[in-house]
Amino acid sequence: MAMSRRKRHKAGEPTAPDMPIVPMLDMSFQLMSFFILTFKPTPTEAQLALSLPKETGGGVAVPTLNIDAEEEDVIIQVFAADNGNVVSIKAASKNGDVDLGSDTGKLFKYLQDKAAAAKGGDSTKKAPKLKFEIAERLNYQFVIKLLDEGRRAGYDRISPTLLTPGGGGKK
């Protein structure tokens, strides 16, 4: 009769479970390596909202002579060269066009002044509508820059349209 060895446990002595942590750590490192290698920080994307007219095919610019005296929209015409770069920016008004050069700094100042004049110190009043008449060849990056300047100047209703064939292109 074989005598089986028995482990003799002393009465009252608790048995501590032994959990191997090393393999678990190995797997965690594997998982972490996977997520680190597949991690790709994305640039923050945001939107510029537009205020488009409801009529279809509304690509034709509003003639500058038909400005409503009661609600004067601010109309900015942007001319472009064949390579898509901006040539000149003009503000169309009843009193004559204002040349703003080709830099957006002057445009921003002009838009700010126009918005302030329209509000007349009343902060609850909305800025007038801002319409951009843009040459078809203008680089889209510059289009966004124009809309951005309009937004920064405080205009909520911005509408870009195509410049009339007579006024577009190189100037």
Binding site: M24, F35, F39, T42, T44, E45, A46, L52, G57, N139
Partner: protein, 151 residues
């Protein structure tokens, strides 16, 4: 009495290390984005300072990706010209109308917001043609997407 030679093993405590590693894993898991948001990553967006994040109230939106050649990609479909997209937008418009209550539809609610992701190499005509097609289909709420630029 025999003194048994005890070999003292010096093992580092791995439990805190495992805790930290699991924290890192959780971080990267939360940051990982497995769902493609119908975004064409080859399109390089222009930058804008005043661009705002999408309103949380907007639940239904459609992302149109326009590459430098003027081709438009929406989810899994690619349209070479904006005119070829008319049928798709019309179907989308009908879908929006079908799932919106008539009373709300009359008030102007229920239409998807169109988000335009156009490459910075596009010219204005390419983008304007897409906007015209969207308006012809009945979508007037358009937003141009740009990369947020810090001042």
């Amino acid at each position: 009495m025999s003194a048994s030679a005890s070999h003292d093993k010096c093992e580092p405590n791995l439990t805190p290390l495992l805790d930290v590693v699991l924290q890192l894993v959780m971080f990267f898991m939360l940051c990982a984005n497995f769902v493609m948001e119908s975004v064409n990553e080859s399109i390089k967006l222009p930058e804008a300072i005043a661009a705002k994040a999408l309103d949380k109230d907007v639940r239904d939106y459609l992302v149109l990706n326009v590459d430098g050649k003027g081709a438009i990609s929406v989810t899994n479909e690619v349209f070479e010209t904006p005119a070829k997209m008319r049928g798709f937008l019309k179907n989308q418009f009908d879908l929006d109308k079908a799932r919106t209550k008539p009373a709300e539809w009359e008030k102007g609610k229920g239409r998807s917001v169109i988000i335009l992701r156009a490459d910075q190499k596009c010219n204005f005509k390419q983008v304007n043609d897409v906007m015209d097609v969207c308006r012809a289909a009945g979508y007037y709420n358009l937003q141009l997407r740009a990369t947020k630029k810090d001042v």
